[in-house]
């Protein structure tokens, strides 16, 4: 029994062991330099992803007295989170090294972030969902402030911490309602209890608190305030992490908690999510237009993308949820390529803060500019990039639900989004490079080939998968067709 349970938690155990190993390197072999911590982290993530993809880990079923649920969805999300973490590690190291920020604790916290995501992905009870979420959040708070010389980082971390802790408290309060209703923390029991008492005030209150807390975690308007501040304030390598891996946990949380746990009340949360989605589309995209700071711009654009995801999710039913999961996964890899490009630019010794910093990039580093272009076009939803399919599938779902008004609104906002993404492309390709400043000479440091190659794979993958979109989509559909709780 226990061995079966342990086997089921294989991915979590591997990553946890990896993180401990990273710490041990730091404590016992300080001379060995953080590069060993980096390699350990990389290997443990790669091994986990490989074993998950090979199907050796995470046999389907309910384990640990309902605390852990392995199903195709958890496996898909685990793999996505693992691959994203791998990319994050690969992109961030050159930048960390160049700016003297590389330390084993950084890699440790990245791994615990991933661990939190894995726990949430396969969370079968309210308790494990909450603990996974907190593990993820605490790691992020620390990472955002990890560069202690950077006042912006401390400010962003403090804001995120206070608001995040508040959101967690709201979520917990909702859990007390659900517990009161069901007498258990297992999602399956909660779902049954909810179905037995439709429309009770306790359910409604739980739905309200859960929606607010989850909207915060995802960064939907009006709970988005932390997003741009954190994207701008965090060190670049951490922004890269914040913008990618946690999104997987957010969609997992939505699926597990709202889709599976509170699915019986979907009529109640659907409306709320629809409002949040429309507001996110509007506010995120409009405010992105006026940003001059690239990372802040991408932060607001992330809010806009969340609007798209919620637009699909609020439809309720497997169709909309599948579209939302697909969009999220696609978004994570687009975001990884975009932020990865910015991070590697900083590793070159360039600044990547404002639009002006990027101007003329196409001539300084054509490949990097091209990779960023792929990422931005994909984010903008230009066919045949992968991002186009994500938008198309969501819109198709929305139209099939006869919500044509919503679809039109989303499309209008997508045009606004295309505008500001294009502005970044324009400054990379058409604007003259900034006047050669004093630090121009020192700037041209080579970026390790390993990182560049992975960025290339990531960016061109957006194109290739856009041309052959079937695999990922059918994987999502498959994952969503055998859900457990």
């Amino acid at each position: 029994m226990l061995s079966r349970d342990i086997w089921a938690a294989g991915s979590e155990i591997l990553i946890g062991a990896g993180s401990i190993l990273v710490l041990l390197f730091e404590v016992l072999a300080r001379r060995a330099r953080p590069v060993w911590a980096y390699r350990t982290a990389l290997v443990s993530v790669a091994v986990t992803v490989f074993l998950l993809a090979a199907g050796s880990l995470g046999r389907s079923g309910v384990f640990w007295h309902g605390g852990l649920v392995n199903d195709p969805l958890s496996r898909l999300l685990d793999i996505a989170a693992g691959v994203a973490t791998f990319l994050v590690l690969v992109y961030s190291r050159p930048q960390l090294v160049r700016h003297g920020l590389e330390r084993a604790e950084h890699y440790f916290l990245v791994l615990t972030t991933l661990l939190g995501v894995l726990v949430v992905d396969s969370g079968g009870s309210l308790l494990t969902l909450y603990l996974g979420l907190e593990l993820l959040a605490l790691s992020l708070y620390a990472l955002i402030a990890i560069d202690r010389r950077r006042p912006l980082g401390a400010e962003a971390a403090m804001k995120y911490f206070v608001l995040g802790a508040m959101a967690s408290a709201l979520l917990l309060y909702a859990f007390t309602f659900l517990y009161g209703l069901a007498g258990s923390f297992r999602l399956s029991v909660v779902a049954r209890a909810l179905a037995a008492h439709p429309g009770s005030p306790l359910t409604l209150a739980a739905v309200a608190f859960v929606v607010v807390a989850l909207a915060f975690k995802f960064g939907a308007v009006p709970l988005h305030f932390w997003v741009p501040d954190v994207y701008e304030g965090a060190p670049t390598a951490v922004t890269l992490l914040v913008g990618t891996v946690p999104e997987i946990a957010s969609i997992a949380l939505f699926m597990r908690l709202l889709g599976l746990g509170l699915g019986a009340a979907s009529g109640d949360w659907g409306v709320l999510l629809m409002v949040a989605s429309l507001l996110s589309l509007l506010v995120g995209n409009l405010l992105a237009v006026v940003q001059l700071n690239v990372r802040r711009l991408l932060g607001y654009s992330a809010v806009g993308h969340v609007g798209f995801i919620l637009l699909a999710f609020q439809l309720g039913g497997r169709g909309g949820e599948t579209a939302a999961v697909y969009y999220t996964i696609v978004y994570v890899f687009m975001s990884a390529a975009a932020f990865g490009g910015l991070t590697l630019l900083e590793a070159r010794g360039e600044k990547s803060t404002t639009l002006e910093d990027l101007s003329g990039l196409a001539r300084r580093d054509p490949w990097m500019a091209f990779f960023l272009l792929c990422a931005l076009f994909s984010l903008a939803g230009v066919p045949p990039f992968l991002g186009f399919w994500a938008k198309l599938i969501v819109l198709r779902r929305v139209i099939m639900a006869h919500e044509t008004g919503l679809a039109i609104f989303a499309v209008v906002m997508a045009v606004v989004a295309a505008y500001y993404y294009l502005r970044v492309v324009k400054s990379m390709y058409f604007d003259p490079p900034p006047a050669p400043g004093g630090d121009g000479a020192a700037a041209a440091a080579p970026v390790p080939v390993f990182s560049r190659v992975w960025l290339g794979i990531n960016a061109l993958g957006l194109l290739v998968l856009g041309i052959l979109p079937e695999g990922l989509w059918s994987a999502c559909r498959m994952a969503m067709s055998h859900l457990l709780r």
């Binding site: 308790l127 909450y130 603990l131 907190e134 605490l138 708070y141 620390a142 402030a145 202690r148 006042p151 912006l152 401390a154 400010e155 962003a156 971390a157 403090m158 804001k159 911490f161 206070v162 802790a165 508040m166 967690s168 408290a169 917990l172 309060y173 859990f175 007390t176 517990y179 009161g180 007498g183 258990s184 923390f185 741009p228 501040d229 701008e232 304030g233 940003q291 802040r296």
Partner: protein, 100 residues
Amino acid sequence: MPLFDDLAVSAVVFAIALAGMFVNRKNLVVLLMCIELMLLAVNTSFVAWSAWWGGLSGQVAVFFVLTVAAAEAAIGLALLVVVFRNKRSVDVDTIDTLKG
């Protein structure tokens, strides 16, 4: 009606703490305390429901919440120290560089 009374007390404390989050415009430390207070209210609620159901799950949950609260407090205080070192102040008003 012990259940209702306990839940009501917890709700009042929760509401007070939430209001404290935005009425307090001076001191970050008090924000951290409000968070602690919110978790306390949640825990009280768990204990009350647990007693009502006559099971243990609620009490187990309180354990975990206390653990998380401790870790959270540690990180919150650490962040507070970092902010204080950077700004020489824990005034809420001083951390508004990121905006717009």
